[in-house]
Symmetry: C2
Subunit: 553 residues, 2 copies
């Protein structure tokens, strides 16, 4: 026995040495747990509702400096005739489906005269907005893959023929060009359709009948945006990136709670993200479904998204009472808190520079000029409070005993070091930057009480060089801060002006990026690659329906 024990001891020591040598490290949650979570995610894949959609009009795009991105569409009519008329003579024509659609595109060709003696080469360009079917894509100046742009070239070998493009597409407009055909026969496009899919299946209640037309329209466009992004996960955008990001999921889950109420989808996403966490238990910012579920290994740790996961889980529990899921995933939430103190100074202030230097990604907003320190400080407090609330509901407060202390320390640290009394504003970074992000998150974190928050927001509005939100994601939090500060009229005006601005510019769905003064703004150096149906922009649905007293007359 002694001999065998000795053998076992050596085996153990050698195993540890070997695993260290080979770089093996421990799986924080364990493979069985992850497998179980993946299985639950898989068992909750929603069945997609499929609807066959057809074009409703033929249009041309016209350059117009008053139009969004200087292109507008104009009906040219004659859809019925189009199907019977030579496609050769109509190359470049644009089919308008009348709404934003996500799904697979099918077309049929038939001969008009002669016999197909050669293949036909067609190009289909799918656009969410008119500019996408107007501006040339090449030479491509963008920073993301050129392949995101939805132009597909198809060789049709025989006619009559019905062809379904493999790629799932997201669009309202389809430009059809004939790149090759034979002089010995002619043909028409006799049918075009899309098998549109969504996992947003439930009926939506109407807004109060007395709501303004604008609010109704904003709500509808928000619903369209959300339902288009609801596929087998909450996608960030059905055109691009078609991925599940924690930040987008947070806002989608909120909007979903007040509209389609597909909580099964939220549950699936929470499990999927958990199952695909880093080995050390911290969360990846996003995951992919295809070819099989996986995370973006090696991608930078996105701190604010990781800790917002806990708030999504708490909200999910509140909405569903599903304590089983909340208990299952509680270890994940708890683990995310372990990075709160990693770059926290003794003064209770988050050292953003150090975090960034160590390759953490602090997102907050698409805005290169933004100093993220104070916003992160706010998000950390906000997330700790949410986690504490979750622990309380699960009777697990004893497991996060440190949180109240940290909340207290970071809140007072913020007031002491990040609040400029003279300005009556939170500042961020060594240049004492004033931003909408900092004020919004400090208010959401409840570091200041509503009355002070109101003053801060008024001061912010008056502060000339305040860094404004770069897009809808941060605008959402700003609206919430306004509401939390009882500045309801301001919140309503912002929704009407910002999201309403997109509606007035013809949006069928809300855009990933929107700067009223720079319509060609793109984080990717080429605006057609922007996503024009983007999850994080859908939240007017949430505000309008959660706060009817503010938005519905």
């Amino acid at each position: 026995m002694k001999h065998s024990f000795s053998n076992f001891k050596w085996f153990l020591i050698l195993s540890i040495l070997l695993s260290n040598f080979l770089g093996f490290s421990q799986d924080y949650y364990g493979p069985d747990e992850r497998r179980k979570w993946l299985d639950i995610a898989e068992n909750n894949i929603p069945s997609l509702k499929e609807t066959i959609k057809h074009p409703i009009d033929l249009v041309k795009t016209i350059k117009d400096t008053n139009a969004f991105q200087v292109y507008k569409t104009e009906s040219i009519g004659g859809l019925d005739d189009f199907y019977k008329t030579s496609l050769k003579t109509q190359s470049g024509i644009i089919l308008d489906f009348g709404e934003h659609i996500t799904g697979q595109f099918t077309f049929s060709l038939n001969t008009l005269f002669g016999v197909t003696d050669a293949p036909v080469r067609l190009k289909f360009t799918f656009g969410e907005v008119p500019s996408e079917v107007s501006v040339p894509f090449d030479p491509y100046p963008g920073g993301l893959s050129r392949a995101w742009l939805q132009d597909e070239i198809v060789t049709v070998m025989s006619i009559p023929s019905t062809i379904t493009l493999e790629r799932r597409l997201s669009f309202r407009y389809v430009k059809v060009e004939v790149l090759g055909s034979s002089p010995y026969f002619d043909f028409s496009l006799t049918k075009a359709s899309v098998k549109a899919t969504t996992s947003a299946t439930s009926e939506i209640t109407d807004l109060s009948a007395t709501s303004s037309e604008l609010i109704k329209k904003i709500d509808q466009v928000g619903l369209n945006t959300l339902s288009e992004c609801m596929q087998t996960v909450f996608e960030d955008g059905p055109k691009r990136d078609r991925r599940l990001w924690i930040g987008d999921l947070y806002l989608q889950a909120l909007a979903n709670m007040y509209s389609y109420e597909n909580h099964m989808l939220t549950k699936r996403c929470l499990y999927l993200i958990a199952a695909l966490a880093q080995e050390d238990g911290f969360l990846y910012s996003n995951v992919f479904e295809y070819p099989s579920p996986h995370a973006q290994e090696g991608s930078p740790f996105l701190f604010d998204y990781a800790i917002l996961y806990n708030v999504i889980l708490r909200d999910y529990l509140d909405a569903t009472g599903d304590t089983e899921t909340a208990n299952d995933l509680w270890p994940v939430a708890k683990r995310q808190m372990d990075h709160i103190t990693t770059y926290l100074g003794e003064d209770g202030v988050f050292n953003a520079d150090k975090a960034v230097k160590n390759k953490w990604w602090l997102f907050v907003d698409w805005n290169d000029q933004l100093d993220r320190q104070t916003a992160l400080q706010g998000i950390m407090i906000y997330s700790m409070k949410g986690t504490l609330d979750l622990a309380e509901k699960l009777n697990k407060k004893s497991e996060v005993k440190q949180l109240p202390k940290w909340i207290e320390s970071m809140s007072s640290g913020a007031l002491k070091h990040l609040y400029d009394k003279d300005l009556g504003l939170f500042i961020s970074g060594k240049d004492r930057q004033v931003s909408y992000a900092s004020q919004s998150w400090m208010i959401l974190a409840d570091v200041v009480k509503p009355k002070k928050a109101r003053n801060i927001l008024h001061n912010l509005q008056d502060y000339k060089n305040a860094i404004k939100p770069g897009g809808p994601y941060l605008y959402h939090y700003y609206v919430q801060a306004l509401i939390d500060s009882d500045l309801k009229e301001d919140a309503r005006e912002l929704i009407e002006n910002y999201w309403g601005g997109m509606v007035k510019k013809g949006a069928d769905t809300f855009w990933e990026v929107y700067d009223p003064n720079n319509e060609e703004l793109s984080p990717y150096q080429f605006y057609p690659v922007n996503s024009y149906c983007h999850a994080w922009s859908c939240t007017p649905v949430y505000f309008i329906r959660k706060y009817p007293e503010i938005f519905q007359n």
Copy 2:
């Protein structure tokens, strides 16, 4: 009863009036017969032999004025490394499969680092010859559909991924270009293969071991050409047009008889062409298999092809003894003879001008300068003799009693009106044109005896302005004329120089069009759209194997 008879009579009269009014005309063979023929064609679809092929080398193309079409390939080696190396850094690389292949192309992508965060856009250009993967296709100047050119653009949505292109391709070289990818990951092409298909499945006997290397090579390239064109029909070219043409079928069937002996395929093609004849019983020059068997309705009547059908049927009977098929299709052969006299003058001379004026297509050869009158006169006599032979073998001579008289009249008419005694050459048309086509077909039609034929062919070779063959199809008949005239050495030299010329220029398969002095010659205004593996060019196989005493030492 009277009443009802009267009704029936009126019904009959009205029906006839109505059918005339609506342009209905009688189906010469009747729908049941056609249906039966189609069924037999379908029951004889050969099962294709499938072979998985892989690239054997990486090459680049180099401009070289001494190379065919000024492009040659040069090995750059490193195929094994290629599969492990970033495709982004190798965009434009060319995979060499080492042989001409027809089938479906499959490729796999895998990541080298990072996670696929975006689709990839790839372009594959498939070339039968080096120039096709070297010269730009656009702006496309060709007269046939641009879609025949084999460049396919593919969006790959996720990686790892294995994708099979829908389109069947025909090529030796594949150029791979990366048109779009993400900076956040890299990938390699880990596999490329083709599921090559052919219905040429039987083993081929070796040539006599003492045959010259050149003859062996010509034979092999001919076999490759034939087997690549043998799919579910005898195609004219597997890249283009992939169609069953009577003219190509004739030469393929000959070569097949002396090589793969897939007589079932010949039978299928004979039935298919018959079943899809014009309503008046005359044959269309070509038929299509997809999407379902059909002819090129409305296409011009190609007289020389229609009457050559009979010779193919006779040869098929000779090779197989299949009298059932020959009897089945005899009505078709008999019907083709009914146009012999349509434009025949009382002098026994075919009025080609009148035929062309009435929209008949007289092909004979790709050569705009060729006057086709005398060649057609020869083809008509040749075909009548073949038909008569067929009738004799089927005991149906009584059904074509007119043929001997017509043969006699057209033969003497030819000698009297189309033969220039001073020149010792047949002339054609009002400009008394001297051509290889006229001499060849008159000799094949046996209008002159071998000794006179020899003189004619010598005179032809000496005649400065004789119109030469425009391509392999007519060269075939010229070679046969040389052999029939006992000018065997000349036949051998022609094979060695003309087809051997292609071999020396690197042909893996024989080309649709070949003029040693104009390598960019194309009937379609753009040489890359030429077919570089073309049925009618495969006949050295037939000559070398039918006449071993001439070609095999």
